[in-house]
Symmetry: C2
Subunit: 498 residues, 2 copies
């Protein structure tokens, strides 16, 4: 006889929930990568059915009772952490009615579908009403979750993406960045202007060759194509499940620089998923801790490891081979100048690491104002342009390069943007700790051997899954909770020192 | 107040079931077309979760009661037919335990995954035990359904694919074919030998050009790429949902003849799905009637419409344009000789329409013996080879060209094979009736205008969905229930007359 019958029963439930969530992940990937436009309505029905069934399973009348009984059962640390995660999900789910969950699923499917033509035509009016509906339902959900969790509405949404996240913590860290970054940005740009820009690489670069390069780089980083794919979409992302990770990017014949770096970024996400512990594959505790650590893994690869002189030396050879590149533009030095070029631009996903936090600060402010009702959806394009002028001193020429550039809000993700910058801070902190622990890591990266770095990440981050909080994992790995110091030190070192 | 509250409630349930079934369809397509091998286990979990949830929804305690109450509600013909379909599905579902449904889902996922390497290596032992498990579970399910439906076990399985199908009916029709076909086959082959074979088309034929040709032909037939895709797999199929139909084929550089004809076949299936009535999109009565009519639609396109001299005249021009083909081999006459060449071959999907029924008769015999236990899975390769010798006078050189060639049994589909040949009979019967009703159809096909044919099919087959039985639909459309006469007349006309 099991001594933990309630926990056993809960684990069986959550195993099935994990399968449903994996199924929803495949449907979502297919929608963005494969689905013809005429399939949208049927897909929205399918997704809504899965969302509602998963919600019904979580709020079923006996789950609360099982959780109560499980509280008295003798569990080891991982099972206890799993129980904590189950309780968190149950609390989020019971805060919402099935009708609201279904309405959210349909509204985000619709807004996401309209976002594509809206962005292509740079016409916000196409998607305005659909976004307003998503925001209205998000306000409703945030209020309900705030009541249930006893936190502010924005914190309740943050908790979905980053368990335990709070606006107060974000305000403190973002204030440090807002103080340090503008003068640093001026200094970096002035220094770059003195040094002269990088030599541009003449295109066009054939898409099939870019695909080859991307796959080679993914393999160098440790991506296993027996457990994943690379495809192409409008907006790069990493989806799927740990044993079948789906990376996407976008290629452009005019240049390969951005496309391959997007692949490296998404591969960082993919490696985290793949490194989650096999023993806890289908339980909440076995999932990634949250979006801050998730983003730390993509940015650690993209910003810390792969914009380093060591990696770019290797990459210079690989890229020359693929494209038959000849001349000084293809030297590691020039690639380093390209990949560390800093500029005040309009597009977040193309931004350098110095200006990126300012993009996130803008979006965080706007989404908090949308949630509180201080800003209406109709006012969003104007507020975005105004924010760009204040923070960057530039005005977007159109909404495609303004408030239509990101899919997130249309997909219902409010409370997600801050995790990009918190992830950048965590990435700097983790990479510094990894190199301090294993000083051979940079040289190995230069040889195309990512195993020392990946080994350290598997042990200190990936393998921990959701067994502890983000801060506990960071403290165990780096000696301190999340802070801005390593990130600012990294920027100073890369962009202002020699 | 609704006068039909029980029916309303059932329709809401079945709408969600339809969404779940659509989701499972996307997962299945992805598994066969996109999924990396390492994703198989996770996908099996996802599929099993959907199968079990759908089964649980069908057997929920209140469904029987709702069906009983719905029996007394005033319904129009379509809603009444929908109620009949709901009852049929409920009867099938309640016959099986959830444990058996889950075991079947996992066993078929596993067998299908092992079938691929087994076929590639022509090694039956790789998949033997997995297939034995599938057969064992199918026997169990067939016995349970036989009890519940009051029919023989094999008829209970037939009913899954072809509602109302029976072994007795199949025996009668197949006996006609077994009498007529062998002497006809001798006569056709002798006649072809006298005439000399077709001029072979020299390859290789670049795969991208074959893709272009396939897409052009699909568009000529009326396929709408805003509501579907064409991809490549080991085994051609048509999946997805009516508003997002996923056609697959396989291309081979050595020849384009088989690949493009597989596309035409699957496009016939796709057009049926697309032509189902919009008003009944997510209800059982709105689904395709069964696999006999489904196969009739693919074979009507492949065998009746697109192997006709009229179509091949058009096709000759399109193919020459795509491949830059020059010479007598590319003339319509020679393409007609290629596409009506009859031979005793090993592979069902490559078989001509004269020998195809013999392939089906073999499989039908073997699967009935497997189901009854008269034949064990271990004995299957030997029994297959023996059957080929008896029916065709040839012995397969290996199991890849023998019992490993088809995915069906590994996928749990026993009772499916006969529908191919019943579909061929229905195709001949329907095409004859269509041309009798609209004599302009052959000329229009020759001009690449499929709208008269498609219009007739939309009215007389596609638009009927599951509102009546296969025989009722055939009788209304052609004046008679399913028979062998039109098919045998068609073969005589095409292969023995001039």
């Amino acid at each position: 006889m099991s001594q933990t019958p309630a926990t056993d029963a809960l684990e069986a439930r959550f195993r099935r929930l994990s399968a449903l969530s994996g199924a929803a992940g495949v449907l979502s990937w297919d929608r963005l990568v494969m689905m013809p436009p005429g399939g949208a309505e049927a897909r929205a029905e399918q997704t809504a059915a899965l969302d509602v069934l998963a919600h019904e399973m979580l709020i079923a009348s006996d789950v609360a009772e099982l959780l109560a009984r499980a509280a008295g059962e003798p569990l080891d640390d991982w099972r206890a952490a799993n129980r904590t995660e189950m309780k968190r999900r149950h609390a989020h789910a019971t805060a919402l009615s099935s009708a609201l969950v279904e309405a959210q699923s349909r509204a985000t499917s619709r807004a996401e579908e309209l976002w594509r033509p809206a962005r292509a035509k740079s016409d916000f009016t196409i998607v305005r009403d659909a976004l307003a509906e998503v925001v209205r339902l998000t306000q409703e959900a945030a209020a309900a979750k705030a009541d249930a969790l006893g936190v502010e509405p924005y914190d309740a949404l943050l908790d979905t993406y980053e368990p335990g996240g709070s606006a107060a913590r974000i305000d403190a860290l973002f204030a440090e960045l807002e103080t340090a970054l503008p003068p640093m940005l001026d200094a970096v740009i002035e220094r770059q202007n003195r040094a002269g820009g990088p030599i541009p690489l003449g295109g066009p670069f054939a898409i099939p060759a870019q695909r080859t390069l991307a796959r080679q780089v993914m393999e160098i980083l440790g991506f296993d194509f027996a457990h994943g794919r690379l495809d192409e979409t409008l907006h790069p992302f990493c989806g799927g499940v740990p044993d079948d990770v789906r990376v996407t990017t976008r290629f452009n014949e005019d240049g390969f620089v951005a496309g391959v770096m997007a692949v490296i970024h998404e591969t960082g996400h993919a490696l985290y998923e793949r490194g989650l512990p096999m023993a806890w594959r289908h339980q909440p505790v076995g999932e990634a801790r949250g979006m801050v650590l998730h983003e730390s893994q993509s940015l650690l690869m993209e910003m810390q490891a792969c914009r380093s002189p060591a990696f770019l030396g290797l990459f210079s050879g690989v890229a020359r081979e693929v494209f038959g590149g000849v001349g000084a533009g293809w030297e590691a030095d020039n690639l380093h100048r390209i990949y560390t070029h800093v500029a005040r631009g309009f597009i977040r996903v193309e931004a350098d690491e110095v200006t990126y936090p300012l993009h996130v600060i803008l979006r965080t402010r706007l989404e908090r104002a949308l949630l509180s009702g201080d800003l209406t959806v109709a006012e969003l394009p104007g507020a975005w342009a105004e924010g760009m002028r204040t923070l960057f001193g530039v005005t977007p020429p159109d909404d495609a390069r303004g408030c239509l550039q990101d899919i997130h809000w249309f997909d219902g993700a409010i409370g997600y943007f801050p995790t990009y910058t918190l992830g950048a801070l965590a990435a700097a902190q983790l990479f510094r700790a990894a190199v301090a622990a294993e000083p051979g890591i940079p040289d190995a990266i230069g040889r195309g051997d990512f195993t020392p770095l990946l080994g350290w990440l598997r042990t200190h981050v990936h393998g921990k899954a959701s067994s502890a909080s983000t801060d506990a994992i960071l403290t165990a790995a780096t000696g301190a909770p999340l802070g801005a110091e390593a990130f600012l030190g990294h920027l100073k070192n890369r962009y202002l020192d020699d």
